[in-house]
Symmetry: C2
Subunit: 602 residues, 2 copies
Amino acid sequence: MPRCTTSPPFMTPWPTILPESGRPSTCPPKSSFCRPSVWFGPGKDKPTPGRLPMPPCGSGCKAACWSGWPKRPAFQGTTSRAPRVPPAPGPLIRRRPSRGPARGREQGEVWGGGSPPQAPPFLGGEVLGGFEMTELLEALQETLGPSHVLTGAEAAPALIDPLGLFQGRALAVVRPADSGEVAAVVRLCRDARVPIVPQGGNTGLVGAATPDASGRAVVLSLGRLNRIRAIDPDNDTLTVEAGCVVAQVQAAAEAAGRLFPLSLGSEGSCTIGGTLATNAGGLQVLRYGTARDLALGLEVVTAEGEIWDGLRGLRKDNTGYRLRDLYIGSEGTLGVITAATLKLFPRPASRALAFVSLPSLEAAVAFLAQARLHVDGGPSAFEIISRPLLDLVSRHAPEERLPPLGGGVPWFALLEVSSTTPKEGARAVLEEVTAAALDAGLVVDAVVAQDLAQEQALWRLREHGLGAAMARQGRTLKHDVSLPLSRIPAFMSASAAALRAQFGAVRPLVFGHLGDGNLHYNVAHDPAQSIDRLVAQAEAIHQLIHDMVHAHQGSISAEHGIGQRKRDQLPRYKSALELSLMSRLKQALDPLSLMNPGKVLP
Amino acid sequence: MPRCTTSPPFMTPWPTILPESGRPSTCPPKSSFCRPSVWFGPGKDKPTPGRLPMPPCGSGCKAACWSGWPKRPAFQGTTSRAPRVPPAPGPLIRRRPSRGPARGREQGEVWGGGSPPQAPPFLGGEVLGGFEMTELLEALQETLGPSHVLTGAEAAPALIDPLGLFQGRALAVVRPADSGEVAAVVRLCRDARVPIVPQGGNTGLVGAATPDASGRAVVLSLGRLNRIRAIDPDNDTLTVEAGCVVAQVQAAAEAAGRLFPLSLGSEGSCTIGGTLATNAGGLQVLRYGTARDLALGLEVVTAEGEIWDGLRGLRKDNTGYRLRDLYIGSEGTLGVITAATLKLFPRPASRALAFVSLPSLEAAVAFLAQARLHVDGGPSAFEIISRPLLDLVSRHAPEERLPPLGGGVPWFALLEVSSTTPKEGARAVLEEVTAAALDAGLVVDAVVAQDLAQEQALWRLREHGLGAAMARQGRTLKHDVSLPLSRIPAFMSASAAALRAQFGAVRPLVFGHLGDGNLHYNVAHDPAQSIDRLVAQAEAIHQLIHDMVHAHQGSISAEHGIGQRKRDQLPRYKSALELSLMSRLKQALDPLSLMNPGKVLP
């Protein structure tokens, strides 16, 4: 039942949007909105942008710890979106790297908290392949300077992925300064038949940037290619090197009065090269697209160590095959992205954010469709959270301030609208869309954030609270999947039923970017059973979820990629023909198979 | 000088937007706009949608003649955009097909009017390759039914391109009914080592769908694959077969309450498969992207005759290499697109259109930037026309009703805004943006179309009047190029100066999709010299323009592709490395080189 005044004890009153019929008598008659002037405490409670309390981060997420507070460009208006808090990833099933044994980890082990695993002893300097390897190391040192060929403890952080799922060994970690040096490294490695593992910010979630355990590979870090090469506001483009951190790219765009919209939890440490190599998504895909959609041109060092200059700032160019989109999303298995020309956008003059409760997933899909129909250019975010997951936040993450929505609904959503109209522009549109949805019964109850602090609290809930609550309750099996929007309700019902039938009371805890059809589908253990049982069932549960996704025309990797983690699952879900076409392309562009071997392709 | 009342004798008064300072005393004091109630004649002059007078089309443009009046979906609001008139392409330099002699045409000949050239005698049934060819024809007839293996006069229209630039011969034109039959045809041809030329609506402008003169190829027409396979409004997707005409796809989207935004002159006859194979652009790229951006998934028959089912309706899918974008834009040289899953969009509730005069090209670029900043989701069109071209329309196309803007400015632009807000939504935004540009001096004068008839007249001017005027004045050399927006003013100055220096008083007549950086750069002959001289200079002028484009980081084919027409120019503008990478991909996916040989790759 919609309400405006009551709230559970842990909640402070929020302004609530009510349908006409349900509005209490105290609401002004000509407005659809009831806006109390207080919202979870007085103004002094407002977090200051950039000085939010640090979230607890004992979960070992290197990405979050490294990134600090990702820098968010300030907006032109007064209702700027809150700086986003990097999510604290919950526990995950670690799988043994498929090629070569992992050290000190058991296959299928679940890691749910505490310190991240330590890097294994580093093998740099050990002459794994005899004289040739020593020669290669010397040549690399001569080319890059000895201080940029890392071995020992200096190199260790690059040999383990940020979730501690994969750990490898390498001959060296090299840090070229520019595209020319990248090309030189590739040529040296090629001549020595040594595999190359490109690495950006090392924030990926599928082990694509971690070498295998053989110790034969060279890890090629792009970190020193961190120059903004050119900015062209009249063309709305920016040309940057691959090692630029995404937040740095955002800041460069902001300095030119433009928006670079790619925004994700690790934006303070992930690099633009890495996001392109994995075609990362994030929070604003609905309006602006994935990393692929934001790139106009690339510079790539090929597997032969040649530099392909495809840095075009053109919206239209029909002069041959689309090499750019072959390298994007190939996770370093076809070549090394060394620079990119990126699209810029106008900076929104206003933003507004609503949190709504929904009677069903079908209603969520219909509400999103309505929002797309009535928001020019589309909403900038539409994120859903399942009730069990929000309940978990109430129990395990009391520091999160939840909006006062209740009433037993199964789903919640965050809807963000951006507008070029300053001040109340976005808010007016958001309120109109939400009020119409209330009237139509698509939304049960709603609040609109009244100020920056409230926006920050909502984004903090989405980006930190959910992960923290899951991590503290125990352990979950994670899945990053996508589906046609129209199939999501059926998929959710079918997968929940199948889980129940096969695995008893294991609990789906789901959230995600509904606007992109992208669900982060987590499975928590049956409270009546031990976590060990979940661990034992992990592979079977993964397969059940992925089979269900496949049966509903979905994808087993929406935005994280394949890497090592899902590589062996591809043959189950891709046709032999598609895998064969991929293999032929790999053979065409990397005939010696030295570019990031063991990733993506089964 | 801005004005509101005077107009040249051939013009009827238009409502004119004036800056505050220039507003005449009769304008209402609180509005920036002066809106006389009449606009080039009384209401009875309004063309009825779908019943516009047929444009004169003696220029031999098969695309325009075939398409009739492209069907435009009606909009939800009352200010629907006018049905667009297919442009009548002007004369072009025809180049001899590079492989095999063309019949009856001289290299470099200019064709500027009259009937299109006739198809050459058809060779179907001639046993070019001996017994095997007869066997192949029999096998094709057995597979498809004799009525779908065309020879003789039935096949002739498929052997010549719509501009009459290229003409070829073929063993047969085959018309499979579905993807399975396409695959069967490809396998039969492969076994016989016979080349395949895929063809959609045969409306392409670079000869990509025309066979060479050897007569050995089979033309594979996709016309019978014309089913709408599925529509999913909740997912905003539509799955259609390759032979569906674009207008049919638009209509299917409209019937589902959605917009399929691809819109181009030949939409009444071009197929969706062909637009994907060439990555066509058109009039709404600025807001919605090119054909590539509108496709989520593909079904492709590979060069081996296997069917790759990549018909995914997913916004995010990071599970391997992007095969989809390799086939899109490859002009049938890697495989045959047989179906596609396309993105749908909300239908705009209102649209508004302004025609403005601009003091310079720099001001045009700045005005566009302002429009992008202040229109949510961006304008839906921004088209420019150079003064000499508009003057040509005055002289040679008196049936066009020109907006009453004058004053010696060098450039004009059409700016269209679409909005989800009904009624005056789009118009209010358009007027605000235009008034601000007037105040800032970016725009000298402006009119906003007051009704459907005025919108139709403006679009008719853009899509028909320009081409008709050029065709009637004589002959032009055409170039479809793109540049970074920021480089367009410098490119225009430099290319005009170079043309003057090398070729005297030849005249650039330029229009295009400025919003996409896409110029249609035409060169007309020096009035003091004969057209023959222009013909003789054609290759040198092409090279000058393309060299200039290249020097300004542009592309020699923005939206028409490479086909046969620009194939031999690629090595001048693409690096050897890029051409080598393209060749390797071709070799990987079409090792026998039977898919549309002689196109794209040099």
